[in-house]
């Protein structure tokens, strides 16, 4: 087991490195660099950046050098724990991300909890009561969440929130508490802003959980060991919950790890629409502005989260599913 974890950990490190390279490459893929997009921005506002000035900027930002040099420089910074300056925000990347990162986690976790609390029970129910009215209703409702284009839904809810409840538009805080220091009031304010984002971000996930749970459980329900359990004289509830559900949960274990980063990157669009001060929109902006270090760091961050998550869930999986344990160790 330990050996296995060790091996996986080493692989993980390698993966992270590969991600850093890939991330860097992807960010460089679009034509031009930050300076180009900066000039374009100025141009579209009518003011003009001369070639010489552009050259200077490139030199100052070190954008002139070949890509691998830039990569190595970036790596050196990271090793020093300094993720560089955001060119657009003109602040250290860590600061820019810092304040948003944990808000992101809050929103995502809220969505995640919603997903599981709704998804799993419904999934179990509609597998056990296959083809019952309840099954149909449950899956139907669940799938609506999956089917509705959530960026549109987000906008509609935003508007209805204003029309019906005069709710504050978007964001996670009311303007007056925007940069107030932390206080009960501010937390309460945050909680009030949380439901809509959590709901929208959670919906799609919920549907998937329902579907997967139902599918897995249906498979397990027909396995002989369920008959065995029954033939022991166990109560039906016990039979279902102890055996097939337990087995059907394994696939979830294999996802639980990277669900969080997944939600973060999956929710970028909705977050933009809802104007959430989270990492998602920041990433999008950074990519558009080709703000190399900022975008790079966020992508890397999410990457690392995913890798660690995957590692955790694989270990979890090995722990709970002996079949694979036998495979791996």
């Amino acid at each position: 087991m330990l050996a296995y974890i060790g091996r996986r950990a080493i692989l993980a490190i390698f993966t992270v490195w590969a991600i850093s390279v890939l991330a860097f490459a992807i960010i460089q893929l679009p034509p031009g660099d930050y300076v180009t997009s900066y000039i374009a921005q100025m141009a579209s506002m009518g003011s003009v950046v001369s070639d010489e000035e552009a050259q200077n900027l490139r030199i100052q930002y070190g954008l002139g050098q070949p890509m691998y040099v830039q990569y190595l420089k970036w790596m050196r910074l990271i090793v020093q724990g300094n993720f560089g300056m955001s060119m657009e925000w003109r602040r250290p990347v860590t600061e820019v991300i810092g304040e948003r990162l944990w808000l992101t986690v809050v929103v995502s976790v809220a969505a995640l909890i919603l997903t599981w609390v709704l998804g799993l029970p419904i999934g179990i129910y509609s597998a056990v009561r296959q083809y019952s009215v309840g099954d149909y209703v449950a899956t139907f409702v669940g799938f609506i969440g999956l089917a509705v284009p959530n960026f549109l839904l987000a906008l509609v809810l935003l508007y209805l929130g204003f029309v019906m409840f005069n709710a504050h538009i978007g964001g996670l805080f009311s303007p007056e508490l925007q940069d107030a220091p932390w206080s009960a009031a501010r937390v309460w304010d945050l909680l009030q802003h949380l439901p809509i984002p959590a709901l929208i971000l959670g919906l799609a996930g919920t549907a998937q959980q329902i579907r997967i749970m139902r599918a897995n459980l249906l498979d397990e329900l027909r396995k002989p060991y369920v008959v065995t359990a029954r033939s022991k004289g166990l109560s039906e509830a016990r039979v279902i919950l102890k055996y097939p559900v337990r087995v059907a949960l394994n696939p979830f274990a294999s996802t639980i790890g990277y669900t969080l980063p997944y939600i973060v990157s999956g929710s970028i669009i909705v977050s933009v629409v809802l104007g959430l001060p989270t990492v998602g929109p920041l990433l999008l902006k950074a990519l558009i502005a080709q703000d190399m270090f900022l975008a790079g760091t966020i992508v890397l961050l999410l990457g690392v989260m995913t890798v660690i998550g995957t590692l955790i869930s694989d270990i979890l999986l090995v722990w709970i599913d002996p079949r694979i344990r036998l495979e791996e160790t």
Partner: protein, 389 residues
């Protein structure tokens, strides 16, 4: 999937005599047929799945017949009918069936700056079936100008019908929707096929052989999954040559989506393989000395066909959603191309929600399609389930 492997695979259920054994051809046929029957019967039980199946078929029929169903040129713009709400259709003219709409007059209200339209009851516009309209080619071959519905006078009719109203540029939403459906659904299908093949093959290899193959493939998957999709999309989309035509872009986009879409499927497949490698029928298949490919594709894959089907039908809606998402980011299809994504993206603004909500109608087919695919997948899955009987 054919019936035989199913039978051969499942020790519990192998009825007698197995196809391998003696017994005359007629009974064999009856027997095999009945396997399909059973599957069909099981599928039939899932009422919603059956309905969804029909819906999906209907959709793809629509894809083929888009030009026929559309009655107006999807690009024809006209300011004087900008943002016209859906027209009410009157089905009965007096006592006999004769659908018609009233002619509408529109102007901009100088106070509210909204365009207001008034129906003019004195002017009925009968809706004709199989009417003359703009030229097109059936399946790109036979030129014709017949459309499902239309009005007298065809193209040069002053007043015409707008079932779902018009967009800002006064273009007929219904017709645009028809063309959007065509593009979006084909994208989905194409994309899923690509990622299905990738997923099953790579997942299978990695699960079956394990070892180096597994490690390599798993790392690749892990890396791909660890990069948030949007930068990947942006990066790849930006890397597309600019001079590409809408169509080329559209295929490129599909490939991009599916290149990222296969990983989920691969994981599922691999998981099943790992869980199954040791199960007796596989072992025995190995012992009998089936070639490994044969073992995989004849014995193992069918035994979790249900899961592949499930994953695939879940992937297809995902494709559709991704397409809309890409368009939202301005990466996917862009106007003047028409797709569900493009239509939704143009509805993605406050004024639509507030004063022209009908522009959000393209969300309806998206929802229906996505749900239909899901339920269909469920039904198939249950039907193909080896433990089903």
């Amino acid at each position: 999937m054919t019936a035989e492997p199913e039978v051969a695979l499942d020790p519990a259920s192998a009825p007698l005599p197995g196809p391998s054994s003696v017994g005359d051809a007629r009974e064999q046929r009856v027997y095999v047929a009945s396997q399909w029957q059973l599957m069909w019967w099981r599928f039939r039980k899932h009422k919603i799945a059956v309905v969804s199946g029909l819906v999906v078929i209907a959709f793809y029929a629509g894809v083929l017949g888009a030009d026929f169903l559309a009655y107006a040129d999807p690009d024809a713009s006209e300011a004087q009918r900008s943002l016209m709400p859906p027209q009410r259709v009157y089905w009965f003219d007096g006592w006999r069936f004769g659908p018609y709409v009233y002619a509408v007059k529109g102007a901009r209200d100088p106070q509210s700056f909204k365009r207001v339209y008034r129906a003019d009851p004195s002017q009925k516009i009968p809706i004709r079936f199989f009417a003359e309209g703009f030229e097109y080619r059936v399946l790109g071959l036979i030129p014709t100008s017949r459309h499902l519905i239309g009005v007298d006078g065809g193209l040069d009719a002053g007043q015409t019908v707008f079932l779902l109203g018009t967009d800002v540029q006064g273009r007929d939403l219904w017709s645009r929707l028809m063309y959007g459906t065509r593009i979006s659904l084909t994208i989905g299908l194409f994309g899923v096929t690509v990622s299905l093949v990738l997923g099953v093959v790579l997942g299978g290899l990695s699960g079956f052989y394990g070892g180096v193959a597994d490690t390599v493939i798993q790392r690749t998957i892990e890396i791909l999954r660890s990069i948030p999709t949007i930068p990947l999309w942006m990066g790849l989309a930006a890397a597309l040559p600019r001079e590409w035509s809408v169509l080329q872009v559209y295929f490129a986009i599909t490939i991009i989506i599916s290149l990222l879409g296969w990983t989920d499927l691969a994981r599922v497949v691999r998981g099943r393989f790992l869980a199954m490698r040791e199960e007796d029928f596989v072992v025995s298949a190995r012992l009998v000395g089936c070639s490994q490919m044969r073992t995989i594709f004849v014995h193992m894959v069918p035994s979790f066909m249900s899961h592949i089907i499930a994953a695939t039908t879940l992937a297809l809606p995902a494709m559709i959603i991704s397409e809309t998402a890409l368009s939202f980011l301005g990466l996917g299809l862009r106007p003047p191309a028409i797709s569900w994504g493009v239509l939704l993206q143009q509805a993605q603004n406050v004024q639509t929600v507030a004063i022209s909500p009908w522009l959000m109608l393209p969300a309806v087919p998206v929802i229906i399609a996505v749900m239909a695919f899901n339920f269909l997948g469920d039904g198939l899955r249950d039907a193909a389930d080896p433990y089903g009987r």
